[in-house]
């Protein structure tokens, strides 16, 4: 949809230009706004002016819009009983558009805030007839909050001619909102009926406000029913929203944990620097973004496609380096591995600080990833989250294919299950270790690349996820991918649901307590390994 991509400000200035040019073209041909109306709107007490404006609205057209725009821009002056629009040091008659001399005693028109609000909403109503979809959509949005009966004829006129289905729907809601304030009981009943189908949060506030001042019992009942229906729609939106953000968090945890499932789950290496390998992936994305900005600005939207393999390779190379230089000397000594990799993580963090600075760096979404799909009134699914869910599934499929179907995967499984026998069969176990560790690290890099699209990229990026990621692996059980997947999604959804109930911090604590209790019952995770390898 175009409306969210065009900033409102831009729309307004564009509109202003159009209106200011039309004032001279159209004003001369047809005087649909009378001299009395102009005077009524411009001169006198605010109450009287508001009333005059309301009266002028049903018959309003582009000329009225131009005049109101001038009024809003403080370009209208009054000389005696003449109303003049001033532009480029020239004065024009507000009704005929004829050039007039600007008298020296011409006074500015003072608009107080109430008058300004009235003018703005009147302008918004008139914008409903713009040719530009975006302008109309913006106008509808603005009217939603301050529709009243005086604009009803305009809204209905716009509704009759509106072609765009989405805007038409919204306009229908605005009409209902305008009807709600009507003095006619039948109209209010109709409004209640119409609003019941809306799924937007502001409809609820609108209904509540009306309910508080509604004198008629029958309307009250109808409003109550409408309110309940809106509330249940909203509740559904909230629930689906919680599930979606749970799945989204789960997909991120899955990406983070997949790498660990290989290095820790299969190889048994406790890698506390896993988070820092993710950080390297995120910074690699940042560097690729910078290169595209500098050398390929035209293809900037596609930098992410290049960043994915770069992030993988950067982290995989770093992983291979770590395995060769430190970790291979510590196989079979998990506690020492833990401490050494913690040391590595400290050094990597400081390294990034030295190179890129301690502040977070900015990584932008490509334009095709910003925005989202509006599913319900209060539920929209951001594209970047959707892309990451898809990406996580893709990585999962690739990893499980790699482990179960390829020669490398076969070797990795063989070395994990029985190192001496694999070695006897001619497998170069040391090399397989390096490959497997590099693979796990590369997946961490992919996770970092994904994270750069939804969160901050800074030296501490990995720290926030490492505890969660280990929890996923511990919960899922060591030695297989299926457990990791269920644990990641389960923890993600559980976390977001509890967040809705108790707030973020208590939710996190509750999840940790849950894991500790869970491990009491099933120390080997969701899927316990059976047989000899269980006590390895």
């Amino acid at each position: 949809m175009g409306m969210s991509t065009v900033p409102t400000l831009q729309v307004l200035t564009m509109l202003k230009k159009i209106l200011l040019t039309t004032i001279f073209l159209i004003a001369t041909s047809a005087y649909s706004i009378t001299s009395d109306e102009v005077k009524g709107i411009t001169i006198g007490e605010t109450d009287a002016r508001v009333e005059a404006l309301a009266k002028a609205m049903p018959g309003a057209d582009d000329q009225t819009a131009a005049f109101l725009q001038a009024l809003a821009d403080d370009a209208v002056k009054v000389a005696g009983d003449k109303v003049l629009v001033v532009k480029d040091d020239k004065a024009f008659d507000a009704v005929t558009g004829a050039v007039q001399p600007l008298p020296a005693d011409a006074e500015d028109v003072i608009n107080n805030n109430r008058m300004r609000g009235e003018i703005d909403s009147a302008l918004a109503a008139l914008k409903l007839f713009s040719k530009d979809d975006a302008v109309r959509a913006a106008a509808v949005k603005q009217l939603q909050s301050d529709a009243d009966e005086s604009k009803l004829p305009l809204i209905e006129k716009a509704l009759a001619t509106e072609q765009n289905a989405a805007i038409k729907d919204q306009l229908g809601m605005v009409r209902a909102a305008a009807l709600l304030g009507s003095s006619d009981k039948a109209k209010r009943l109709e409004a209640a009926k119409l609003l019941a189908t809306s799924g937007q949060a502001n409809t609820k506030t609108m209904l509540l406000a009306r309910l508080a001042q509604e004198p008629d019992g029958q309307v009250k009942a109808a409003l109550g029913a409408a309110l309940r229906q809106v509330e249940s729609t909203l509740a559904w939106g909230d629930r689906l929203g919680a599930i979606f953000s749970g799945i989204s968090l789960g997909s991120i945890l899955l990406l983070v944990a997949l790498g660990l499932a290989i290095t820790y789950g299969l190889m048994g290496v406790i890698n506390m620097a896993h988070g820092e390998l993710m950080m390297i992936g995120a910074y690699a994305t940042y560097v690729v973004q910078g290169l595209f900005q500098k050398y390929l600005p035209g293809a900037f939207d596609w930098y992410l496609l290049a960043a994915v393999p770069v992030a993988f390779m950067a982290s995989a190379l770093m992983g291979a380096l770590l395995e060769r230089s430190v970790i291979r000397f510590l196989y079979g000594r998990p506690l020492e591995t833990l401490l050494a990799t913690w040391g590595i993580s400290l050094m990597l963090m400081q390294l990034v600080r030295s190179i890129f600075g301690a502040q977070n760096v900015g990584v932008e979404n490509p334009s095709w990833m910003s925005g989202g799909v509006q599913v319900l009134g209060n539920l929209s699914l951001p594209f970047n989250r959707l892309v990451i869910i898809g990406f996580a599934l893709f990585v999962l499929a690739a990893v499980s294919w790699l482990i179960s179907k390829t020669r490398l995967g076969l070797f990795v499984r063989g070395v994990t299950q029985n190192r001496p026998i694999a070695s006897c069969m001619g497998v170069n176990t040391a090399r397989i270790d390096t490959y497997a560790f590099a693979l796990g690290s590369g997946i961490a890099g992919l996770a970092g690349c994904a994270l750069s699209q939804v969160g901050n990229v800074g030296p501490d990026l990995g720290q926030g996820y490492i505890v969660d990621a280990f929890m996923v692996v511990v919960l899922g059980g060591v030695g297989q991918l299926a457990g990791t997947v269920y644990a990641a999604l389960g923890l993600g959804i559980l976390n977001k649901f509890l967040e809705g109930l108790t707030g973020a911090v208590l939710a996190k604590i509750a999840v940790l307590v849950f894991i500790i209790i869970f491990i009491q019952k099933r120390p080997q995770g969701i899927f316990a390994m059976k047989g000899r390898s269980a006590e390895a």
């Binding site: 406790i270 430190v326 000397f329 510590l330 998990p334 506690l335 020492e336 591995t337 833990l338 401490l339 050494a340 913690w342 040391g343 590595i344 993580s345 400290l346 050094m347 963090m349 400081q350 390294l351 030295s354 505890v467 280990f470 929890m471 511990v474 911090v505 996190k508 604590i509 940790l512 307590v513 894991i515 500790i516 209790i517 491990i519 009491q520 019952k521 120390p523």
Partner: protein, 371 residues
């Protein structure tokens, strides 16, 4: 049956300390109780022998760390259980002390209220229930030991009962201290949120910021460290200590020999946590602040590196390790702040790769080579 076969001759229990050991112990005692106070309080500041207030503060802090390192050695070095959550027990002891110190501020806070400033700020009218005993010093002393002990006991009971071992246990303890940190960051928990406690004025109604009080706390910390050292020495020389080492080396075999390791593990785990709690309580009045960042996983891991650098399962090693690492930290973070993390990281890697027995092991090796 031949009875001589059954009478396994155990080696005689080692003495608490050897002749040299007692001499060194006595020297340390004199250094803490006499030399340091004299150098700090009576030698004039211009003299090269003068021990500055900064030095007293630093040494006092490091001695608190050394107590933690000693506690780590008991649980990791002798029992083979690597805890990454001892920072929590340290902080709990510190918070218990901090609550008492907050109450000692009395009406001298910024808001001149009987309640601690942060409670006034949060618009609380009365003390929350868990502050009930914070006015009594005796109760505070009890809490300093009881709270970390109880938390450790409950956590350890569930963990050891379901035979969580090795790295699993380490990660769970890390999660434990992480969760506690999140909890203490909340204002609603009633521990001052992320600012924690600070601005202490008095302890036992005596002003806290005087040189005499600083020295008193220093001496107390030193005595506690020496006392805990003897206690640890006694523990590991006893039969109890031998079982612990057996658990470390071959837990299944210990079980097959008819011992239930849970009780042993739980006891040493709880004792170790209490020692950390005491260290935290001594630490807080000396540095004048306690906040939830003390519970961050990084702090707990640093305790492990003190023990590893000095040499595990040597008791004296971890104490040395705490002095070496913390000393290096306080120097490097001032002189070369960029390099401190590189150094610490390299220390983690270097010690695990090249010095599995730490500094003490290195010294022994060099001595052995000289023979």
């Amino acid at each position: 049956m031949n009875t001589t076969l059954n009478a396994v001759s155990l080696p005689a229990p080692a003495p608490l300390l050897g002749r040299k050991g007692w001499a060194a112990f006595l020297l340390a005692l004199i250094a803490v109780c006499a030399v340091a106070p004299v150098l700090n309080l009576w030698v004039p500041p211009g003299s090269i022998l003068h021990l500055s207030d900064y030095g007293v503060g630093l040494l006092g802090r490091i001695m608190c760390y050394a107590i933690c390192a000693l506690a780590m050695d008991l649980i990791w070095g002798y029992t083979g259980i690597l805890s990454l959550g001892h920072g929590l027990f340290f902080a709990l002891g510190g918070y218990a002390m901090g609550m008492y110190l907050m109450r000692q501020i009395g009406l001298d806070g910024n808001y001149k209220s009987n309640l601690p400033d942060f409670m006034v700020f949060l618009d609380w009218k009365t003390l929350p229930w868990h502050w009930t005993f914070s006015d009594s010093f005796v109760a505070t002393l009890l809490l300093i030991i009881a709270v970390p002990g109880l938390v450790a006991f409950v956590f350890g009971y569930f963990a050891f009962r379901s035979r969580i071992k090795g790295v699993y246990f380490s990660i769970i303890t890390q999660a434990m201290t992480f969760a506690a940190m999140l909890l203490f960051f909340r204002n609603e928990t009633g521990f001052g949120g992320n600012n924690g406690f600070t601005d202490f004025k008095r302890i036992l109604d005596i002003p806290i910021a005087t040189p005499q009080m600083r020295m008193t706390l220093f001496v107390l910390t030193g005595l506690t460290l020496l006392g805990f050292f003897l206690l640890a020495r006694w523990l590991i020389n006893s039969k109890f200590g031998r079982v612990l080492q057996a658990v470390r080396d071959a837990e299944t075999r210990v079980m097959f020999s008819g011992y239930n390791p849970i009780g042993y593990k739980l006891t040493i785990w709880t004792i170790s946590a209490m020692m950390c709690g005491v260290a935290g309580a001594l630490y807080v009045p000396q540095v004048g602040i306690i906040n939830p960042s003390e519970m961050s996983p990084a702090n707990s891991i640093e305790m492990a590196i003190w023990a590893a650098v000095g040499g595990r399962a040597t008791l004296i090693g971890p104490i040395l390790g705490a002095f070496i690492v913390s000393g290096a930290k306080s120097w490097l973070t001032v002189a070369y702040p960029e390099f401190w993390l590189y150094f610490l990281g390299a220390l983690f890697i270097g010690v695990t790769l090249f010095l599995p027995d730490g500094v003490v092991g290195l010294v022994k090796k060099l001595k052995g080579g000289a023979k």
